[in-house]
Amino acid sequence: MNTLASLHQQLILDHYRNPRNKVSLEECDSEGWATNPMCGDEVTLQLSLDKDTIKGISFGGKGCSISQAAASMLSVRLRGSSLETASLLTSQFTGMMNSSIGEPDAVFMGDLLAFEGVRKFPLKVRCALLICEAFQKALEKANELGRREALMEDL
């Protein structure tokens, strides 16, 4: 195994063994959930928001090293970012994993590049993307909430 691959493996294993942000939030504004029926892996995601900024984030669920490490690593990146940046990052990550975009922006992707090697395992790609799916659902819920609140203010 070359050094980069092993470095990446270490990074993934580190997040798997010591998951970040895996403590549920006391108060959350939105949440999402995703599962891979092929293997039973599941990821849940909670967000607490300050206007458009992700103030708090937590993930839960159970599954293989890939689904859990991806959730952990993304949660680190998403905490403190704007919903817009978060959407961009999750869609870039999805694009990278599905090989549907060209070279990913290495600086923007950062540690998430560790998952590039997973692309040759289609079943695991789905695992890596569970967190993005959960985020998408949480985002939709947050947007809905935002619309409702805006509507209330208008009234």
């Binding site: 294993l13 063994r17 039973g40 293989c64 395992f121």
Partner: protein, 414 residues
């Protein structure tokens, strides 16, 4: 390590399977996903090529040489499969796409005709989804109730309350001969005899049994027997439903179309005799012919030899795997009641991770719920890793699996 057990030379047999001689991830392939599908020997691959190269034609309808050849090969394949499972007549051999279609055919045709609201269907919690869902659909249509024979902790069927479960209301019992997820070999005799005593029919799912042992449906005394070709060295997309002639005769067609009719009029039609009544449309001609070749292949080796080899391999694998740190093996501990299927967990390592690490070492196993979610619920897990062996597997394959599991333990060591 000795590769020969008795007269069996698994290395020579392995050499007849082209897919098995390749390098995967830089290592020679070890294929241990046989409960999902088997590899194909050269003679089967050549039979497929020969059919399309030389004899391809539609069957039963052309008055020309190629059609005669195709029809003859197709119908003698039916005779071959009747012999293969001890059926009395080839009229009782219905070609299907596989086990799943066989069960759907019985549930739709026989089930819809014979079941109503007060009736019961008896299944086991060990079944593959293909022997659960068609009956659930039938129950929804007819209002019938589904009941289950439960399993004990080791994954044997619990037959202590069989008389209560299989009573006057029971119209059909559908049960697997061998579990695809745990390898349990089921005692069919008491189940079939209880069903007989209450006048219920019995469908046996032979998908995991047919590849590994000689079958005699007459002696088994069931009413329907279903299996797939692709798990027994044959092609995908072909399988067999065997049923008793007197029962099949009374059943309505499953699908309508060409081939299955006697006479079509404007408002009604009459049906062809068995077996064609159940075979609407152009069938999988090549698949049927090639499946017969796979049956020849297996019988040339001999099921006694296959069984003995797999038994030895299973004993060796259970012993070697048992010594791997953190392993938990599911299923029967009595090896005489277990086929060469081993479902397991490796410590806290997720089975998907185990399988990925093995894959990187050129070892193919299956991970998932194995289309047996009721079994997973019974075990209290969502998925397992599963290694399943066949006649071409060697002791060396077991050694590679064991060393792959050691790698997984090392990578995930805390």
């Amino acid at each position: 390590m000795l590769e020969n057990s008795g007269l069996f030379d698994s290395k020579a047999i392995k050499a007849q399977f082209p897919t098995l001689s390749q390098v995967v991830s830089g290592k020679s392939l070890v294929y241990l996903d046989n409960a999902a599908t088997s590899q194909k020997p050269l003679c089967v691959i050549e039979a497929l090529e020969n059919y399309y190269r030389n004899n391809n034609s539609n069957v039963h309808r052309g008055m020309h040489e190629l059609s005669r050849r195709a029809t003859e090969a197709y119908e003698s394949a039916r005779n071959r499969m009747a012999l293969f499972i001890g059926a009395e007549s080839s009229e009782e051999i219905i070609w299907t796409r596989g086990t799943t279609e066989g069960i759907n055919l019985v549930a739709n045709s026989w089930g819809t005709q014979n079941l109503s609201a007060n009736d019961e269907i008896l299944l086991t919690t060990m079944e593959h989804h293909s022997n659960i869902v068609p009956w659930q659909l039938l129950a929804e249509r007819t209002g019938a109730t589904i009941r289950y024979i439960e399993m004990d902790a080791e994954g044997h069927l619990d037959l202590t309350n069989l008389e209560e479960l299989c009573g006057k209301r029971t119209k059909i019992v559908a049960c697997t001969q061998v579990s695809n997820s745990l390898g349990t070999i089921n005692p069919l005799e008491p189940i079939i005899s209880q069903a007989r005593s209450v006048g219920a029919l019995v469908l046996v799912d032979g998908a995991q049994a047919v590849p590994h042992q000689a079958i005699d449906v007459g002696r088994m005394d069931c009413d329907f027997y279903v299996f797939s070709g692709h798990k027994m060295c044959g092609p995908t997309g072909i399988g067999v439903l065997w049923g008793r002639k007197e029962i099949l005769d009374k059943m309505p067609p499953y699908q309508g179309g060409g081939e299955m009719i006697k006479l079509v009029q404007r408002n009604r039609s009459t049906w062809a005799d068995l077996p064609h009544k159940f075979e609407a449309g152009t069938p999988n001609i090549a698949g049927a012919i090639v499946l017969a070749r796979a049956a020849d292949f297996l019988e040339e080796i001999g099921f006694d030899a296959v069984k003995e080899h797999e038994r030895n391999l299973l004993a060796y694998a259970l012993e070697q795997l048992g010594a791997v740190e953190g392993i938990k093996i599911f299923g029967p501990s009595d090896q005489t009641l277990r086929s060469s299927v081993i479902s397991f967990h490796l410590g806290d390592i997720h089975p998907l991770d185990v399988s990925t690490i093995l894959d990187a070492e050129g070892i193919a196993i299956r991970v998932g719920h194995h289309c047996a979610q009721l079994v997973m619920q019974h075990l209290g897990v969502t998925v397992t890793a599963r290694a399943s062996f066949y006649l071409y597997n060697t002791y060396g394959d077991v050694d590679r699996l064991v060393s792959g599991l050691h790698s997984a333990n090392n990578i995930f060591a805390p």
